[in-house]
Amino acid sequence: MGMMPSPYGTQLPYEEKDTKVVGTNPKERPDAVDKVTGRARYAADINLPGQLIGKVLRSPHAHANIKSIDTSAAEALDGVKAVVTSADFPDQPVLHASGGEIMINFRDVTRNMMAREKALYDGHPVAAVAATSESIAKAAMKLIKVDYEVLPHVIEVVAAMAEDAPLLNEEQFTRGIEPAPEKPSNIAARMVTKLGDAEAGFKAADLVIEREFDTKAAHQGYIEPHASIANYTEGGNAEVWTSTQGHYMNRAQTAKVLEMDMSKIKVMPAEIGGGFGGKNLIYLEPLAIRLSQKSQRPVKMAMTRDEVFRASGPTSGTNIKIKIGMTKDGRITAAEAELNYQAGCFPGSSLPLCTPTAFTRYDIENVQVIGHDVICNRPRVAAYRAPGAPMIAFGVETVIDELAEELKIDPIEIRLINAAREGTQTHFGPKLGPIGYVETLERARAHDHMKTKLGPNQGRGIATAFWNTLGMETSATINVNQDGSASLVYGTVDVAGGMRTVYAQMAAEELGIPFDKIRAQQSDTSSQGFNFPTVGSRGTAAGGMAVVKASRDAIARMCQVAARIWEVEEDEVVWEDGSARPASANVGDFEPLSLAEIAAKAGFMGGTIAGHAEINVTGGGPAFSTHLVDVEVDRETGLVKVLRYTIIQDAGKAIFPDYVKAQFHGAAVQGIGMALNEEYIYNDKGVMENPGFLDYRCPVASDVPNIETEIVEVPNPNHPYGVRGVGEVSIIPPLAVISNAIYDAVGVRMRDHPMSPSKVLKAMDEAAMKEAAE
């Protein structure tokens, strides 16, 4: 639905050429100085005169009927200017739409923003207040009386799938089962993807390995909590500054739940302090707008860190079964995956997006992937950097390693034997175009890392990953100024800080003017039409496509002006090195006209120069990565130390190579955190026990080594600069690569995540006891 490639999509072919700006590391980054001086304005840094502080009252119960809410005492408190509950927001019918990298249903969207009949997780919003100070808002919340009828709850995915599990929604019957079931279920949907005949494929195998894995939910851990500030004026218009990865989608969702026209809401994406997929859904924006509407004052709201963990969108916890069959020569004959993903309290986990990644590194004729989207009493999941894929890779890449060991084939060799290449049929539909998977494997094999000698209790692992690059609706506008500088307006939110640089690089390359003559700036929702949020690694690829198209559009306009000046035909003018030139000597003896000269005359010659692109980008380039890790395991405590980590990844073409490497680093360290220590811990009341950075253990600087990186460049033929998205791929291998390395070090296979010290120690002890018994 939301993310199918459009038959009217735009892609521009790759041009092999020498570049002046693209492929370099610019010394000046447009966002950097403001960030290092503290000037950059994130949503919580914005203040409006007369603003109120808004705070959210949240359910302390994992599952409860809400019998009544009495806000009268809160409303009577001095300094409280507005209180809202679900009564202030219209109910929404069942209506599905795209929500970034996952599907949403507006019936659920409004309930996630504010509970209606039921509180469905610890932290679920039930009311919100706006007051003249934070301390008054906090006091007001204590005065709101909510009558809860506590219900039995369910937290983990396997428990939620059980026949007798407490049900969150009595009206939910599993979709994708024929005939439709009569009993409601927490399993919202069953999805099946097939290629060939898996059963026959397994029969043809000499060795079949089947394993089960369990992973816990993790959080993106962005350091900036969600924050929004809204100003609703009596004229019925709202302006909102907010921390978001997609201001247009944010506006669309907000407008729907408030039943306002989109044109009456202006969303300005503030500088964002990390999103990684977690800032695509609406949380505070409609609350802030409604509170502002009721109080006639701006309302500023920010989540505390506790609220971010309990009530934004972590990943799915999963239960995964992987089965792979192989001939004794190492050829995969069949592969199956059963992916049980908990979506939190509303359906819509990332299964549709990560299912394609399951086996798409390998050329396999027979594949079956079954996915179950399951609800349970937890916050509704959002995307997290290659959402759902690290968990599948945890399964697949470790089973491949087991097969390799049994068949006595080197783990890199076994992947090369089965490697996906150009022309390989994927299990999710398309055939692959030119890709760089084999290159990453070969470079890994030849890498210096492989030559490091390993000591006692040290081991090495290898794992690989695939992720695609989304396109979707993307806009860019280039306004050429009379002085020869250009203002570039881009619609794709710059989530990592580097996108506005690479856009300026591509525009500079196209226009032939110096990089520092282009100023790239974020649009707000009134300056362009709909842009898809920055997800699916589409920032540089899709945003760049629009920038290139807009640049070429501006060039066409400038050539038109030159043609008018010279009184020749438009097709007799070409653009080269930043100037319009006659296409040949036959056209006439005209001096080149620079961008500045044309811009100065353009107004009189027909109108100011602006180049536009409002396109749906297709042709996203599949991206592959191979990771190597050396670990040391403390046999007495189970502590796993990462000694050396290497990433080799196909970026298609690196527009800003140092930034690409920086993206590899960040993704891998998030993956290492997820692999070793990050997990959601719940008590028996369904309340999250570790909603803070103390006990939700993200890696600190001393936990990880330097990350070595190599960029492979197999250009994406469908992008003018060959770009493939880079941001997500490298979070996928860490769980698997560390598990493989632990096995190499101490001979135990970890299938329960995270691979925290107590789990590793337990696994080693159990293996030792088993060995002693044999």
Binding site: S135, F693, D695, V700, D703, S758
Partner: protein
């Protein structure tokens, strides 16, 4: 305003007497603001709503580190970083510094005080086990005068201490160091920094000229409702040269003394096991520091 409005009174007394007077006069909940790295967090998380916060950092005798009869007297408001940066303290009591260094980040240590760490009485507090094995004594002043409480008797349960109403820790003392003695504190955490101890072990031992252990004290943190002195563990080392058997006995005694809980930071079984492992490792470090 309604009765829901919370009011906090904040005071910065300049003398000890003034502080005690403020504390005893207040009927509601009183908290001492030393470093604030526990109290402010607890207030932010709505775990406590004190009526009165008394900032003791302006009281002169609380801020100093003094050599005192061969030992040290450390004021209650001395910060972790001040102790870490002291030119001599780490030479005499590296094990206490091991613990202090692990209280938190550089930022946290810039404010956190050892006295605060002690008085917060988390069973996992990092400074407490090495203070216990060092024989530290807390000097306490209250409305009924001054008294001394050995650190081994100071914490009585999670968040609970032996202090009576109105009493404040003013300083704590460490005795003179015996020659050929050394201490060490190790803790287990999943990350290298920033975690609360899953298990903590402190060992303070003395060797004779021949390398035989003549005295050993062992304390465990995070494995019971308070930090524990484990006499049997220390006894396992006395009279030995810390050979393998002695170390195994030490580890067994340490594990046997644990009465931990399962919580989000670790399971019972894990803590019991790792207590033994860390005891051996801490003993080895302490012995090296003692000049083994």
């Amino acid at each position: 305003m309604g009765e829901a409005m919370y009011e906090l009174r904040y005071e910065e007394p300049a003398t000890l007497d003034a502080a005690i007077g403020l504390i005893t006069a207040e009927a509601g909940d009183v908290r001492i603001l030393s470093g604030g790295t526990d109290v402010l967090v607890q207030m932010h998380c709505d775990m406590i709503e004190p009526a009165l916060l008394v900032n003791i950092k302006n009281i002169g005798e609380m801020r100093s580190i003094e050599k005192d009869r061969g030992g040290y007297r450390i004021g209650a408001a001395v910060t972790g970083m001040e102790l870490v940066n002291h030119p001599d303290f780490g030479n005499d009591w590296p094990g206490i510094l091991d613990g202090v260094r692990l209280i938190g980040s550089i930022q946290v240590k810039g404010r956190a005080t050892v006295a605060g760490n002690l008085c917060n009485a988390s069973p996992a507090a990092d400074s407490v086990p090495p203070l216990m094995t060092a024989g530290a004594i807390a000097h306490v002043v209250g409305p009924n005068g001054a008294r001394d409480i050995p650190v081994t008797a100071f914490t009585t349960g999670p968040g609970q201490t032996a202090l009576e109403k109105g009493e404040i820790v003013v300083s704590f003392s460490l005795p003179e160091r015996a020659p050929r003695s050394g201490d060490a504190y190790l803790r287990f955490t999943p990350r290298t920094e920033m975690d609360i101890a899953v298990v903590g072990v402190a060992i303070n031992l003395t060797l004779d000229d021949g390398g035989t252990c003549t005295d050993a004290l062992v304390a465990l943190g995070a494995v019971a409702e308070k930090a524990l002195m484990v006499d049997a563990a220390g006894a396992a080392l006395v009279g030995t040269k810390l050979d393998d058997t002695a170390m195994q006995n030490l580890a067994a005694a340490a594990s046997a003394a644990c009465r931990p809980i399962d919580d989000k930071r670790g399971t019972k079984e894990y803590r019991i096991k790792v207590a033994g492992v860390l005891a051996r490792r801490a003993a080895a470090i302490a012995a090296t520091r003692a000049g083994a």
